[in-house]
Symmetry: C2
């Protein structure tokens, strides 16, 4: 497991700090950019991709973008290591496999050899820049808690530093040109990861998802597009970027929609705490029982356990929990991280056993019982 260096600290989005962190796990801003004079992804040749990679890498490492950057050529690390990057939310599944839009064809594993990379800002992994995903460049900043404005500021700084040495495709009429029309314009996507266990327990989650949809937000699972909800974590993000300025979009999401959903969730939690206290306590303690005793745990169930523990900690059902240890476990139970921690590849059944052992030990410690 050689290619991928060790990370320096916990990834930013799991810190559990920041505004509204009782409900909001993290906020992410992502910009889509393309280099002028080079075809967009569907029409790129291998040489085009090499050129984008080389020019981007040079500019990223030139020093102005971020004080300390880890550059990773995704062709030079193993599939498992690429999955570690996906689980840390640093790259997309499409970039990992090389099967981003426009990279299809060539059969199974053909994406492996395509030129693509990612730059990760250290030590906190807040900044990451994907090269040769659906667009030539995708620049993202993740912050813990609700903090889209700060994230936008940081991502714009990185974008300016990149633009200082790279010529972006830009049209006077549409703004930044992107591969997929939904990203044209500002090229900005705002996402907020929310923890909504209360709404699930009161049975209102579907209603809130529909309401968010009506307000123009996409609601997705933990790993973004097409992924299952796991651990009651939902990603809310804007669907289109054309026709609204970044500031208007951001303000709508950060000041109106997310606070409203957060208030729904807080209301659901209040209902549980005040009127259905024993159901709430039962759910939280059962989850602890499963976490401390199960011998086999699938990822989804482990996430559900940790979600309930997190809810129990926030609502004071269980006291003295080391919340950062629980947050770190949310990442550690993911398949690739689990195998990285153990230093070897495991089949699914082995992973279930090792995951249960990991959760048993770390949860006991986090609860102060170990």
């Amino acid at each position: 497991m050689g290619g991928l260096p060790a990370f320096e600290s916990d990834t930013e989005w799991l810190r559990g700090e920041g505004a509204a962190c009782d409900v909001v796990m993290s906020s992410r801003v992502r910009l889509a950019r393309n280099l002028a004079g080079i075809p967009f992804a569907p029409k790129m040749s291998d040489d085009d991709r090499e050129e984008v990679l080389e020019r981007s890498r040079a500019q990223i490492l030139a020093g102005g973008v971020h004080p300390k950057v880890m550059w990773i050529d995704l062709r030079q690390i193993s599939p498992l290591e690429r999955s570690v990057l996906v689980e840390r939310q640093l790259i997309s599944g499409q970039l990992a496999s090389g099967k981003a839009f426009g990279h299809s064809g060539g059969g199974r594993g053909a994406g492996e050899k395509r030129a693509r990379g990612v730059a990760v800002g250290l030590p906190d992994e807040r900044l990451s820049i994907m090269v040769n995903e659906e667009d030539h460049l995708r620049i993202q900043v993740i912050r813990s808690g609700l903090g889209l404005a700060q994230a936008l500021e940081e991502v714009v700084r990185a974008d300016d530093a990149l633009e200082a040495g790279l010529d972006y495709a830009f049209g006077a009429r549409f703004g930044y040109l992107t591969c997929c029309p939904t990203n044209v314009g500002t090229g900005a996507r705002f996402s907020v990861m929310m923890h909504l266990p209360g709404l699930r327990l009161t049975g209102e989650i579907e209603k809130v998802k529909r309401a968010a949809d009506d307000m123009g937000l996409a609601v997705r699972g933990f790993h973004g597009e097409g992924s299952e909800t796991t651990g009651d974590l939902y990603q809310l993000s804007n669907q289109t970027t054309l026709g609204k300025s970044e500031r208007v979009l951001l303000s709508e999401i950060e000041r109106e929609i997310v606070p409203r959903v957060a208030d729904y969730e807080r209301h659901a939690r209040r209902v549980l705490t005040e009127r259905r206290r024993e159901v709430l306590e039962d759910q939280v303690h059962r989850a602890i029982g499963t976490g401390l005793h199960a011998r086999l745990l699938a990822t989804g169930e482990a996430m559900a356990v940790l979600s309930a523990v997190r809810l129990g900690a926030v609502l004071g059902v269980v006291e003295g929990i080391d919340q950062s240890a629980v947050n770190a476990l949310m990442l550690a139970v993911q398949p690739a991280h689990l195998q990285r921690v153990l230093g070897r590849e495991l089949n699914q059944q082995e992973r279930k056993g090792e995951r249960a052992t990991l959760v048993r030990e770390r949860l006991a410690r986090a609860l102060g019982a170990g």
Copy 2:
């Protein structure tokens, strides 16, 4: 909760002793008898029932039937106390409500006032004699483990002692006459309560139930006729009593059918232990986790937890368990016993909470963790 006296020790069938007690919880023999010259249940008047009750009571208490007997007039105890007797397997649900076959009509609660009673042999509650159930007399003996022959011996002794002072309805052609034709002849029903968690976990339980059915046995849940399976406990019993001698019936069940089912169960457990050890351990430890942490427990789930703990103890998955404490819990979690222990009536939601508390405390003690 005054009417029903305290019991002197644990009820026999939960001791977990005796032959084949890894799979067989208990063995029961029940005889159906009716007094000559008095109509059978469907045609009985109130006076007839009073007469049967009085004559039976006098003979039972005359001294020859059992050294120490507790006589309970079921009209003089509360519905909750009658339910305690049902849960201890001393009387049927029909006798408790007064709605045994032939006692119907008269509207809700009309059965309450019908003359009916039960005699319980002390201290171990092995013997019980129901008066004015479907038949005038139903005499049963329960033994822990597989022991139909000994139970038959005991029940025949009690029957002889009763017959010494009571004139039974008997026909030369059919033998003992009973209310329901399936009991005519010997009037004997043999039941064996088996604990079959292995067959459920390997998915073979339905096959075994069909096989038992083919061999002329009825397979029922924990509380007999019409009851749901709970805690992987199954009652196997003969369906008819006419045309076969008691000895032949008994020998078939005790020496052929039950050992065969027990061997299926042991085979399933071996498969689990040898080939699916981690699934077995996971199931047992998850059950322990639920038992030690849940805040709300329905009866069925509590029984499932205790069933898994029992399996884990028998197979050595968990060590140092106080098995008799686990057995006693199987009775203590039943609704009426729970309320009797707490000394007050509880609604269903309250019972779930109190049951969870009871299981948490007693299971922790039984596991040596409390």
